[in-house]
Symmetry: none
Subunit: 401 residues, 2 copies
């Protein structure tokens, strides 16, 4: 029995509130020998006060040494094993533009490209056309109709687009048509099973019509298809935990990931203050809130140590608005580390703080990586964080007699 | 999806070098209450300097409480789940005498025994004959020919020998012929499937000829067959990690274990200095080096605390030759603990040091068991050590977007 089956069996209802506050890419590294990480450098009086009364630990998003993208990172935090549930590239791209993907949708990443008179690719990115050109081309392509299905074409940025084919019985196992080189024609879509063959046939019809529509639009006179996939069949948050969950995330990707586990996505505004206001307003309507803060990751990706420190301090500053609501369980963590030293996501375990009345306190008085290493949660797999939150919320029955 | 499938998918190539230095049986125990372990007692300035800048932890070779032999211990360090990949006794015995086992080989441990006139065993170890007698008998047996296969007979020590049957389509699932008692005849080999029945038939023919060859060689006038098995079907190091790996091990068993995962076995000489010289010479030819040091285990097995301390200090003394090569990742660990207090392998977790530029430093300044318990790697399964090494070498792509 895996832990999801256990949770379905043991979940209880009560009036408790759980807040999962995700500071994206929270974990870091010192940049000088003997130095401190971003989180350790930041002045975080409110987080430190919570750390003193709560319990700390370090979470491993996937397995030791594996660096997760945002998809696996968040699935782990939501309690889904990221090696069991995989999110295809096309699906992530669709989530990233806030497209509300349904279970009958096949999502595809598209790249505008340039074809020569012989139909061979001369530029796999169509000269990196401007976003407004891509947008206009997508509007034209969106008008194409294929009997029996709905097709949505949406711009992403520059030469990138998303195509969604919606229809019953379509498979998501179709090859990329991008040949990964120039001087050859795009590949022909082929399904790897009967249902996917149906998808491939529709894709072929769509591509034929699209070629006609774009024929005068040099350099973006065609496009390739990549990362074709369907949403993973994923149990809902409500099924697994019995929680009514609301997501308060500014960036589309994270709203999309929340939608993937069937959280209700709320209007988050643009700032932390907007997010807190939404949390206050929605407080009585949900059992669980996922609140996402992007800038600890983006500053890490930029390699900007000082800016990441600032962003952490800004997050600390709004914490009193969250604690004023008296959540029964408040978790502060990240979906992975993004050390500004590495300018990228990393595999280092993620500082995690859990605050609840039922915590067994550890000796930690500061929220930081070194302190978390001494924390009462130890080093644990991210997928168990929700189980711990449920326990501290009094929402789990005893297992066995 | 298991972590091997993940690694195959995520592996990247670059110019980094990884060194895995295995001090066999490194972990220990204090012999007096409040005392220190062998590693803690040893003066190890170079290891301590690495510990200060790197990250420590304790590795669990199999699962908590399980004491591994050298086979499972090393498979774990090489990143292979020792509960998934099992090495038969015959195979291990063949590896231990440096026999280069191929995928078509069935390896068998033999014990010379004494038969009476009625064909019943009177001594299961043939009076523990001297090694030079065993050697001569093996030379005679090695001349036996069976049509359709090659047979190799090699001495091990005293009454012990190795038989290898090489041929297409031979199975490894054949019973021991040793009845585990005297006063009865050896058992008849029986295959548990069609391919193994073929092996059993060849074994029977070989035993019949052998009985004739040995009939005048009392007390060693026959032998029993044990631990019949083939090499496990094990993915190569190159497949799993994309690493070109060289093994620098003095003892045959460890060369054999390295060969099992398709490392290239280099001439290691006899001493640590020989091994370091080989490492220096081969530095540009490999991505990964496995260097094995036996004496921390053998002194532990002898129950000689002081000698084990000495051997650890000798290892520490050569470290500068390794670090002078500037490996991107240097791991120092053991395949299991061998506390001199217990005079045997044990289940205690193994002190582990990982040094790389991308380490998140912990507060540890000394390489020892108590210190490792506070280390940033925490307590982890040995099978993830290679994943961590790959991550620190920049050889793993992000998982998911």
């Amino acid at each position: 029995m895996n832990h999801h089956e256990l949770l379905r069996e043991l979940q209880l209802k009560n009036n408790s509130k759980i807040v999962l506050l995700v500071a994206d890419g929270l974990g870091g590294l010192p940049v000088t020998p003997g130095g401190q990480t971003e989180l350790e450098t930041a002045k975080t009086p409110h987080l430190d006060a919570l750390a003193t009364r709560g319990v700390l630990g370090l979470s491993t998003p996937v397995v030791p040494g594996i660096t997760p993208g945002s998809g696996p990172g968040h699935l782990g935090l939501f309690g889904y094993d990221p090696l069991e549930f995989r999110i295809g590239r096309g699906v992530l791209e669709a989530l990233g533009i806030d497209f509300d993907l349904g279970p009958d949708d096949v999502a595809i990443r598209g790249n505008f490209c340039t074809l020569d008179a012989a139909g061979k690719i001369t530029d796999r990115r169509a000269g990196r056309i401007a976003s407004d050109i891509g947008k206009k081309l997508c509007e034209k392509l969106d008008k194409i109709e294929i009997p029996g299905v709905e097709i949505f074409v949406r711009p992403v940025k520059e030469y990138r687009l998303v195509i969604v084919i919606r229809g019953k019985g379509l498979g998501g196992s179709v090859n990329d048509t991008d040949p990964q080189k120039t001087g050859v024609a795009p590949l022909v879509p082929q399904g790897r099973d009967a249902a996917s063959q149906k998808t491939a046939e529709i894709a072929k019809q769509f591509l034929a019509k699209a070629k006609e529509v774009l024929k005068e639009d040099h350099p973006a006179n065609f496009f390739t298809l990549r990362g074709i996939d369907k949403r993973p069949a994923i149990p809902t948050f409500e099924e697994v935990y019995g929680l009514k969950a609301g997501a308060i995330a500014v960036y589309p990707m994270y709203r999309g990931l929340a939608r993937l586990v069937s959280m209700q996505v709320l209007d988050a505004g643009q700032t932390l203050d907007d997010q807190c206001a939404r949390l206050e307003q929605a407080w009585n309507d949900f059992d669980f809130f996922f609140m996402h803060y992007k800038y600890t990751d983006s500053t890490g990706e930029d390699g900007n140590f000082a800016a990441k420190v600032d962003r952490i301090e800004q997050l600390d500053a709004v914490l009193p608005r969250i604690t004023a609501l008296k959540p029964d369980v408040l978790v502060v963590t990240g979906d992975h580390s993004t050390p500004s030293k590495l300018k990228s996501h990393s595999w280092h375990p993620v500082p995690t703080l859990l605050f609840a009345d039922s915590c067994r306190p550890d000796a930690c008085t500061k929220f930081g990586e070194a302190s978390c290493l001494q924390g009462g949660l130890g080093q644990f797999q991210a997928k168990y964080l929700m189980t711990l939150a449920m326990a501290h919320a009094g929402r789990l029955e005893k297992y066995g007699a």
